[in-house]
Amino acid sequence: MESNLSKLKQQNRRLVGCFPLYPPLELLHSFGLMPVVLWDMKEQVRSLKESDRHLQSFTCSVARRLAEFVLSEEGALLDGLLIYNACDTLRNMPEIIKRGLEEKGKTLPLLKFHVPMVSPKQTDSTGYFAGRIRELIGEIENAFGVRFSSERFLVSVRLYNAIRRLSLEMETLVSEGKMSYADFSRLMRNGHFMAPENHLSALKDALKKAKSGPTKNSSDGIKIIVSGILSPPDALCAIIEESGMRVAGNDIASQARSYSYMPQEIDDPIAYYTDFFRNHHPCTTLLHSSDERLKLLNELIEKRGARGLIFIGEKFCEYEYLELPFIIKTLEQKNIATLQLEIATDDEDNVEAFRTRIEAFSELIK
């Protein structure tokens, strides 16, 4: 990750670290800025020395790695930060990071904006949200000395939608057994730290290779769905596939939940982001959307012919854990078997402990 970011810095790109998962990437990109989604940094952020000075051990790995990255040397590559409202932990992060940076004698432009969490059926938040987007544009212009252009915005919208389209196509290849889920997952994660133009090229190359090359994933594997707020560690993906299962679809926040909805390609950022958040693929972090999650999971399971669901739990993610029992109960009523795994901050290196459970699950749903 760091080397990717260093390369971008060498190209004089100004990097804006964003969290949580669904920031206005297109908008930042249209200003010539380079948005970097600070999520799912398990492979790259190994030590938590800085973070431990600011966060208790009962904080999730997303927050701990985020703090570590921004406050450590790597974070010096960033030119700004952008946050929108998410969970109870993350909403505290801007001020924690600000103080951490100040301790080091640094400051960064910190852009904050509020995404309405009300259901559109309940309250019309369009006017309020339009004001927030206008405010954000003004803040970006002031912080970085740039001007908004609707033409450039539309170009960025098209670029990110192209990435979404290829991601969906690639997910289909994984479900058909033509590509390994581990490879797919790595490619998605790396995309957060690449220029979108480069990510698009990487996706095109990988798709070409997958279509022409030998099957990477067991084509007769037992089909399952994976779900969670973070993608499974690579080693865990490998264990799933080695156990004779094929990931036929996912409900991972940084994967399907991020790329599944294709917003309309328009040059008005207010209309674009209203559509983007209102019709976003359901995610636990977008409070009004959660009701649709189970419905879409059911549809996905049916469409892909999956026989089980593996839930990759992020330790201390209360949002996900509060939704899980109802999902499991409902799926099990439909004879869809489920397996719950929990990954804590230090567990990425210890996934072998899960092998027996995953193998047993594979046997169970055969």
Binding site: C87, T89, H114, P116, M117, S119, D124, Y128, D291
Partner: protein
């Protein structure tokens, strides 16, 4: 440090305490009775402006967080948590949520109030705690009950006009929702009256907690925790105004008569967290035996205030009650950013003459706790007042270790002593 243990010191038994028990008993009995007689029942997050419901003829509300705190204080918190865990809810989830889920899924079994009547509508509010939206979603899905989410932007600084208008718009939609669902007409004049009562009650409560300014303090923060309950179960009612008026009068009278919870008070502490409900008497009396008193708490001092302040600022006489209710949405500590919390705590430290801070890092309340490591550093450096961080869980006793907590709190007292010695020499 401590000599003989005296369990009667600390949290005091008072006439107001007995009256409080009666109010709460009446509140829960009325809730069940009216629900059984056909009232429209709403479950709310603590910060939802329940004064709005007074605008209807027959709407009652229940506060699951308050019920969970009561359950923990009555010693059944762990039992209810275990039921939720048995149903698949992780032990890492907030203990209030687990207590409530355990209670609801066992139809009120083991609850000190026989549970809560089944709701017609759920109203959550994400400013105090956004997890609560997910918690209410469980009932929304299990029981197919509509869930209205009040979305309040987090306040890193004072509330903006645009945010206020956004909140007012949601209140209007909530009123319409209840009108449609219950078939009842809304009367805003009654809301004004309720808001006047809330404002007067908060003013008297403030007078009560300000008895901590006296040396020795007329109260412990534990008294203020316990006495918060009617603000949640019957806010907006004249009975609450009367109760708090008497509470403040009686406490001031006790001070005049030289009656103090910690008569030889040597250490005046401020507590930063939700109350440790399962430890109220135990912790207050053990501290009292060390001549220490937690005289104030960020959790209760904020009542009647607005974001970033602790002084009374919620005066309501007339005007649009919806705007007033929206303006005070951020009064409790949780929706504050760190800067606002620092401002409020600095004011409280001076106002109450605080010798030391106890930051209670609460696994169950991330919104309260996650910034505490930085806040502690900031407070200690700027105010030069010693502090300590202890681990607690507000309602799950399994996540609390009394000896560990007291080891640290005793170290804090020693640190205060050392500071005093240095100041003399």
């Amino acid at each position: 440090m401590a000599e003989e243990k005296d369990e009667t010191r600390g949290l005091m038994k008072t006439e107001s305490g007995r009256r409080l028990t009666q109010i709460l008993t009446d509140d829960y009995l009325n809730l069940h009775r009216r629900a059984s007689e056909g009232a429209f029942v709403v479950w709310v997050a603590i910060i939802v402006p329940v004064e709005l419901f007074k605008g209807f003829d027959n709407v009652v509300f229940a506060v699951p967080e308050s019920h969970a705190a009561l359950s923990a204080a009555k010693g059944v918190g762990m039992l209810q948590c275990e039921k939720a865990e048995h149903d698949g809810y992780s032990m890492d989830i907030c203990s209030y949520a687990r207590i409530d889920i355990g209670t609801a899924m066992s139809s009120g079994k083991d609850s000190p109030t026989f549970g809560l009547p089944r709701p017609h509508l759920l109203v959550s509010d994400n400013n105090n705690c956004s997890l609560l939206v997910k918690w209410f979603d469980i009932y929304h899905r299990e029981w197919n009950v509509p869930h209205f989410i009040i979305d309040v932007p987090f306040c890193y600084e004072m509330q903006k006009e645009t945010d206020l208008k956004y909140i007012v718009a949601q209140f209007r939609d909530l009123i319409k929702t209840i009108e449609t669902m219950s078939g009842q007409k809304f009367n805003i004049d009654r809301v004004k009256e309720a808001l006047q009562n809330s404002s007067a009650a908060a003013k008297h409560y403030k007078r009560f907690i300000d008895c901590a300014v006296n040396r020795p303090s007329g109260i412990t923060a534990f008294d203020s925790f316990v006495q918060m309950a009617p603000l949640l179960t019957s806010r907006g009612c004249p009975t609450v105004v009367e109760h708090f008026r008497k509470l403040a009068d009686e406490t001031e009278e006790r001070i005049k008569n030289g009656q103090f919870p910690v008569p030889n008070e040597k250490y005046r502490l401020l507590w930063d967290s939700i109350a440790p409900w399962h430890q109220l008497r135990k912790m207050s009396s053990r501290l009292a035996n060390l001549d220490a008193n937690i005289v104030a708490a960020s959790y209760t001092s904020c009542v009647g205030s607005i974001e970033g302040h602790y002084e009374f600022l919620q005066e309501y006489r007339d005007g649009d009650p919806l705007e007033s209710l929206a303006r005070i949405q951020n009064f409790s500590v949780c929706p504050y950013g760190m800067k606002l919390r620092f401002n409020a705590m600095s004011w409280a430290a001076q106002h109450y003459g605080i010798d030391g801070f106890v930051f209670a890092s609460n696994r169950s309340c991330k919104v309260y706790s996650v910034m505490q490591m930085d806040l502690q550093k900031w407070i200690t450096e700027e105010l030069r007042i010693p502090s300590v961080m202890i681990d607690v869980d507000h309602a799950d006793i399994r996540k609390y270790n009394e000896e560990n907590a007291f080891l640290r709190m005793e170290a804090l007292l020693e640190s205060i002593d050392a500071g005093r010695t240095r100041a003399i020499t």
